[in-house]
Symmetry: C3
């Protein structure tokens, strides 16, 4: 493996191998596996889990990391091709990124969606431009439309909780103070499709899954014996569900228009997961979320702190999942 | 030892054992003692000594650290229970902290006083709520009313300077542009009481030591053969003193009221340590301060740069003191 | 070697030895050479290459680093002697720096020019005051008038590109949105003089090289068989050049006067390196720059992305060059 950009680049069997490696590293630590290796981490956007778990995971394999955060000790980086750089961005990624890569044995990049043009974000134009500048093993630490480390951790979590491979997986839109990127919903629904699950996206009007993403989910589902549908009907969606995965995202109908999104959202405060949501679900239905989550906006304290919630396990699994990825990218 | 939260949780003999271990680690480094261990450091407030000395000390024992600083590369964390999180704080400590702890073998937390309600801060409601979320060995890197790492380093410093266990220890209020927390004064006076010293707090009217803290100091002093008194009389306080420990803190009479504090403080600019202060003291009297210190506001350049000043030694001692704590928490 | 402050402190033969060590460390890594050593890095100014390459280089030698960035997780540091510290700077470098040094085995400091008084900056009053406070091996990570790590990396780069020791080296002023410090031009032209090159500084009126710096360059050139001249004539300057090293700097005629500098600069937008600049040069002439660079302000995309450009190699060479320096400062 040279790059870990999109979980869908791997066959389901290869994903299962990665998870098996993650579990092996938990049972039998390899504290010298990446001795002498250096991981360069570029955060164009803020982070908590990713920032901590990559450093901790690399350390647990004997390697070391450095972190570059434009705007925090490092100047802002320009990304526009052909820019006349007479503003406040002191360096272009066309120099900055290859330079960082030249100091490292592998590179991780976090770069969120621009949030203006849905087609450009769907095409991952920003992340692809950055990835092209890196000639070392590369990890996507969250791009415009993907978050493969989260998806891998979530798959591992479901395996450990014995969520059936064919179980019903409901990805539900939930409320948030503002429009958020589609990275996690995209990564999550394709992961669940790839795992062979009955994937249902529950969301209000105006928050439809973009066509190319729905097509990708259907293709992956078909290959694995799963399915993909979308609905606004909460009771139907949750009937028999094994997982309710809550996630916030911006209106796809009004992509790049925060005021139209806010207008639409004004009627949607009831899209906050509460215990009654689970009435039609399988009694063992789990509550999942990638974190960070707005308590009492996206989900009630009662659900988040209750027995259905597996959010801390998902977050913990980021570390072993990423250790498996780094091991594959860097160990001899 | 599972947690290092308050020096007063330890018997004086256990404190002396920790200092002996710190001194042993200085003489006989153990560069592999914490190999493979990861320390997670959460800084809710800024830092220089603590930030550097924990990372350096962990490295000198063969371990590794990661640093999370909300507001600097990581979003702000919400701490209020039951909050409806529709503002700018993207994540609650109820998720953030257990997640960070799950990546680490031990956790350090710095979280200053809220500075609004004296009883709440005295009760350490904020730090206790955070500590409850961590199921790993935990170090208090400064809380509302405590700073045990500073206290341990100061005790070690006094031992090395042959300050007698029964010597007179004067904690003097000094001036500052604004109200500061009580963490260091509280940690310092209880440490000196626990060491068996004749503790005198010298301070202006309005800056009294809160009753529960005074009670704690008296209890500790009694057990160790020391004493605790408070005065506004500088000459009497410093008569025969072996240590003048200067520290800034906010008015306890006007706790949480910065303008009343500022009004009171307007008359107190002469509370700036200068050489004449030492006239009644023992000739060998040392000047101590935890740093950072406002030169020519809290203390003159002449005293701080003069032979009485042991502030750099105190600061250096943070590292070996904390190495002893980490060794106890993490070494097999 | 105890300190690496100015490349000109070393004889040319000693510089060549350092480069040879850098190249040896590239061929034969020494992943345990600095095991147990801790490097403390103080960044008074932002950074990308320096921040990443020192951490990565130290890691590749088995050592560890901590980073302190005033204003980013640490308060601002006061530098003025005798200051009455009643403003927003919470700590003086007179405490801060010795404390950081006491935790570390070696220290790196980045502290840019104040940009107000040319004589004071030329005298390195700021960096010298900081250096005096450090009793450990010390590396200049860029001061008011120097950047020896960049100079060493550039010398190594020219050696590897077979740029003749007596070749013509043109340091050309180029445009920038605002006045920048003289650190890199100073370090670069003295490095090239020390290497024995025919050094020509090409710059507009008002951007003259300060006399003490020109004298230093002439002295170094004389000792190595090189030369130093200054001109405003681009064609003459570039005739036969083997290197065009572009760099931005503030007007030395209007030092500390940004509006006069901006006024002068209004007519200088054509000082942007483009392919026609190279017409009089040696066909093998390289384009060099220390980065970060403003694309299409200081240099066109075509030149920067073209075959003449060796900026990424220069930046990469920061790491092995600094590894050699750290090895000399810290290895037994």
């Amino acid at each position: 493996m040279k790059r870990f950009i999109d979980l869908a680049d791997l066959e389901p069997a290869a994903v299962r191998d990665l998870i098996a490696l993650a579990q092996k590293l938990e049972r039998e630590p390899e504290p010298e596996a990446l001795a002498g290796k250096v991981l360069g981490l570029l955060f164009m956007n803020p982070s908590l889990r990713t920032l901590a778990s990559f450093q901790a995971g690399m350390a647990r394999l004997g390697g070391r990391s450095f972190v570059i955060t434009p705007g925090q000790g490092t100047w802002q980086l320009e990304t526009r091709l052909g820019a006349v750089m007479d503003g406040d961005r002191a360096e272009h990624i066309r120099e900055g990124l290859p330079v960082l890569a030249s100091y490292a044995d592998a590179v991780g990049i976090r770069s969120f969606a621009e949030g203006k043009d849905l087609a450009a974000d769907m095409a991952e134009t920003g992340f692809k431009a950055m990835a092209e500048l890196v000639d070392k093993p590369l990890v996507n630490m969250e791009s415009a439309m993907n978050h493969p480390c989260q998806a891998l951790a979530d798959w591992k979590t479901m395996d450990e909780l014995d969520v059936p491979a064919q179980g019903k997986f409901v990805l539900s839109w939930v409320n948030h103070p503002r429009a958020l990127p589609l990275a996690v919903p995209a990564a999550t629904l394709t992961m669940a499709a790839q795992r062979g699950m009955e994937v249902v996206v529950l969301r209000p009007e105006g928050y439809e899954i973009p066509q190319p993403l729905a097509d990708k989910a259907r293709r992956l589902a078909k290959a694995s014996g799963g399915s993909f549908t979308e609905t606004t009907d909460r009771t139907a969606a949750l009937k028999g569900a094994r997982v309710l995965y809550a996630k916030e995202w911006g209106s796809t109908r009004h992509y790049g228009d925060p005021s139209a999104d806010a207008e639409l959202r004004r009627q949607l405060a009831h899209w906050k997961v509460d215990e009654p949501w689970f009435a039609p679900a399988d009694p063992a239905c789990h509550f999942m979320h990638c974190l960070p989550v707005r308590r009492n906006v996206a989900v009630t304290d009662a659900v988040l702190d209750g027995p259905r919630s597996v959010v801390l396990r998902e977050a913990y699994n980021r570390m072993p999942a990423q250790m498996a990825v780094l091991h594959r990218l860097l160990a001899r």
